[in-house]
């Protein structure tokens, strides 16, 4: 599934990285605990989270994640978006809750890393 397809399915907004919309993702990790993402998200290229602080972007950077999806209407601030830009990580925001977001993407063929 491409980032563009995820954006459409989730009725999400591109906060950064529309030019990366055609990149493909296969595995996704979702968590609000960044240590869990670091422990188990190794082969995932998309991070779904309801946590909203700069360490989310840092965590994504360390794992070479290409797209962060913020759920429950969470809005990263300018500092976080600047960081995402600097690292070339696309950022989407959706109003859906975590479970719904994950379910919708699963239905469209995305899978967890393990």
């Amino acid at each position: 599934m491409t980032i563009r397809e995820m954006q459409k399915v989730l009725d999400a907004r591109f906060l950064y990285g529309e030019e990366m919309a055609d990149l493909e993702a296969q595995f996704v990790f979702s968590s609000d605990m960044m240590s869990d993402v670091l422990a188990y998200g190794g082969k995932c290229s998309v991070l779904i989270t309801g946590l909203c602080n700069p360490q989310v972007v840092r965590t994504a950077e360390m794992l070479d994640i290409i797209c962060i999806i913020f759920v429950r209407g969470k809005m990263p601030d300018d500092n976080m978006l600047r960081l995402a830009m600097a690292k070339g990580i696309a950022v989407l925001a959706t109003g859906h809750y975590m479970f719904t977001t994950c379910g919708m993407l699963y239905e469209h063929g995305l899978r967890g890393g393990a």
Binding site: S35, L38, A39, Q55, E61, M62
Partner: protein
């Protein structure tokens, strides 16, 4: 390469927002050196967890990273409270982090186990009341 490259960082213990800048800088440098992306990811994750620990448990410290043809060595030293029971601290899920740290996405007690998991060698030298030095090595 042939020679040894050294990078040094001072980690500010008061600024959680900036935690990870040193790990990010190292990641960039290793990319520029053209190292294998799996090696870079392992180093980045291990160092980032260590850097976060320095900020949340030890009020900052110093990190030195050396790169040779055969491996990358990270030495993280702080003058924090030390770790009373290293064996316990190494267990998944063990954490003394405050609720405030947990609300920031850390403090799940996975940091030290992650550091061990992603490196080829790890050694913890710690003295209560004096500080902690963690040495980690990743083979290239």
């Amino acid at each position: 390469m042939g020679e040894v490259l050294n990078f040094r960082y001072t980690i500010d213990g008061d600024d959680f927002t900036r935690a990870g800048e040193a790990s990010s800088s190292v990641k960039n440098k290793l990319k520029q050196l053209g190292l294998d992306s799996d090696v870079i990811r392992k180093v980045s994750i291990a160092m980032y967890e260590g850097e976060i620990n320095m900020v949340i448990h030890a009020d900052g410290g110093n990190i030195t990273v050396s790169v040779t043809d055969s491996d990358i060595t990270m030495v993280l030293s702080d003058t924090g409270p030390g770790i009373p029971d290293v064996e316990k601290a190494m267990q998944e899920g063990y954490s003394t982090a405050r609720a405030e740290v947990r609300s920031l996405g850390f403090g799940a007690g996975m940091g030290l186990p992650n550091m061990k998991k992603y490196t080829d060698e790890m050694h913890i030298d710690t003295t209560i009341g004096k500080g902690t030095t963690i040495t980690m090595k990743v083979h290239i």
